[in-house]
């Protein structure tokens, strides 16, 4: 028996305990409290502008979609995309900076906290931070009276959906960080990955208007599922593959988180 592989092949890692991951989450939280205002303005600025420009601006020229005014049709997708952007930014640019420039991961990993717990804590933090932005967006949308009253009870189900989505994109960002050799890599991720996905997520127009092959491809991508589920909950627009969407989103979240943590451990513990 190889004593160095006794813990499932992760080398010198002796175990994973969520308690230690939370210590890293807490560190990120404390640092964030110094910058919360900047991060709020930065995180919300873009979605709010999209909302105003597309929802009210474009929307006044667009017919109702699926029976809803464009402003309403747009709202669920924009909440999801706020979370996507915020989580992605945190676990790409911010995490990479912590890892490579500040050497934060190295300094924590020489304490009783293991590398896998550092990464898990970072993923949790990325999700938390994005939920803060997403939550403000949701609140704004509610306060403006954009969401129809008859489905407000569904907010109970919307919350867990947003939490899963936040974890998904936080983990995906961390996965990208595990591949990144420099900051430029993230430019590719955002401009070739996230932004096209955002445009073809069903946020701005129903995917049913696209050719079937494109539709099917778009539906596999991580954002489409949450957007469709959110629209179902908030507006009541039917989503025929609901259970597939839920299952796929949850599966992706677990799979990507595990893969991201494993890759990061391999990258750091050589």
């Amino acid at each position: 028996m190889n004593p160095w592989k006794s813990d499932g092949g992760l080398g010198v890692e002796s175990g994973f305990s969520p308690r230690y991951a939370f210590k890293v989450w807490y560190r990120d939280f404390v640092v964030w409290t110094r910058y919360w205002w900047t991060s709020l303005v930065g995180g919300l600025g873009e979605p709010v502008l999209y909302f105003l420009a597309m929802g009210y601006g474009l929307g006044s020229f667009v017919k109702n979609i699926e029976g809803f005014p464009y402003v309403q049709f747009l709202a669920p997708g924009l909440i999801c995309s706020t979370i996507m952007h915020s989580a992605s930014f945190e676990t790409t640019y911010s995490s990479y900076t912590r890892m490579e420039i500040q050497k934060t991961y190295h300094s924590i990993a020489v304490t009783p906290v293991n590398v896998s717990e550092v990464i898990a804590g970072e993923i949790l933090w990325g999700a938390t931070k994005s939920l803060f932005s997403g939550g403000i967006m949701l609140l704004a949308v509610l306060v403006m009276g954009i969401l129809p009253k008859e489905h407000l009870a569904n907010l109970i189900f919307l919350c867990p959906l947003l939490v899963v989505e936040a974890l998904l994109f936080s983990a995906l960002g961390m996965l990208m960080t595990s591949f990144a050799k420099d900051y430029d890599f993230f430019t590719y991720y955002f401009t070739l990955g996230l932004e096209p996905m955002f445009l073809f997520s069903g946020t701005f127009f129903p995917l049913s208007s696209l050719p079937l092959l494109v539709q099917k491809t778009a539906l596999i991508l991580p954002l489409a599922g949450p957007v469709a589920i959110a629209r179902l909950l908030v507006l009541g627009i039917p989503y025929p593959s609901l259970w597939w969407g839920i299952g796929w989103t949850i599966f992706l979240t677990f799979a990507i988180s595990t893969w991201a943590i494993r890759r990061m451990v391999k990258r750091l513990v050589v």
Binding site: S6, V12, G15, Y26, R27, V31, K103, T104, H106, V113
Partner: protein
Amino acid sequence: MDLTPKGTTSVAPKGTTDVVPNGTTDVVVRARDIVKKFGELIAVDGISFEVRQGECFGFLGPNGAGKTTTMRMIYGFSAPTSGSLEVFGLSVGQHSREIKRRVGIAPQEISLDPDLRVEQNLLIYARYFDIPKAEAQKRSDELLNFFHLQEKKKEKLDHLSGGMKRRLLVARSLINQPEVLVLDEPTTGLDPQSRHDMWERVRDLKKKGVTTILTTHYMEEAEQLCDRIVLIDHGKIVEEGRPSDLIKKHGLDSLEAVFLKLTGEHLRD
């Protein structure tokens, strides 16, 4: 101030079969034929050494010799390809968490949190060791005093000079009152006053019984601080012993001269 290393407060190794009973109980780090390969590259080529409790042990060697790789294996950041490495009698591969609890590491890069204030850097770090808040505050105050940083405790990090940051880094590595302190190039870039001050701090720690493992490029530092050293080159130990003995043995007048004699004078990078 109380820097006395605490005895193990957590559980003893659970019936591991790889802890070899030995005669000497004061060996804190024992390496036997450790090898580290990165693909085809052999960074550490079968080295063996022992670090004894309470001593200051030096790892010297040119760039790329394998000393940083060896340090990383000691504090669990890298797994040896083969060989046996034990800290406190615990195998590094299986007990890294327990070992890390009792070791303090001051790395070469200044890995402080620039987003936190001076004191916060220590208090947040204390959480990783499960040190209760009140105790962490007490230790933080003591350490800041010990390293002459108490006036800066509420400052932002960018208001600190390089020397102060390095002192804070070493202070942080002591927050858990470690039994073994690993210092990786602790005085790089420091002015002479700061360097001598750091040496005094290390001597004070030694008096308190802290075992120190030091890597450095400053031979004078190794001569001043180390009880014993190993000189590593191309992944192998080329010389070991007390600095004064080695100087006599090679008939030279300084450790630096011994170093250059054994490793050659051409550049390694």
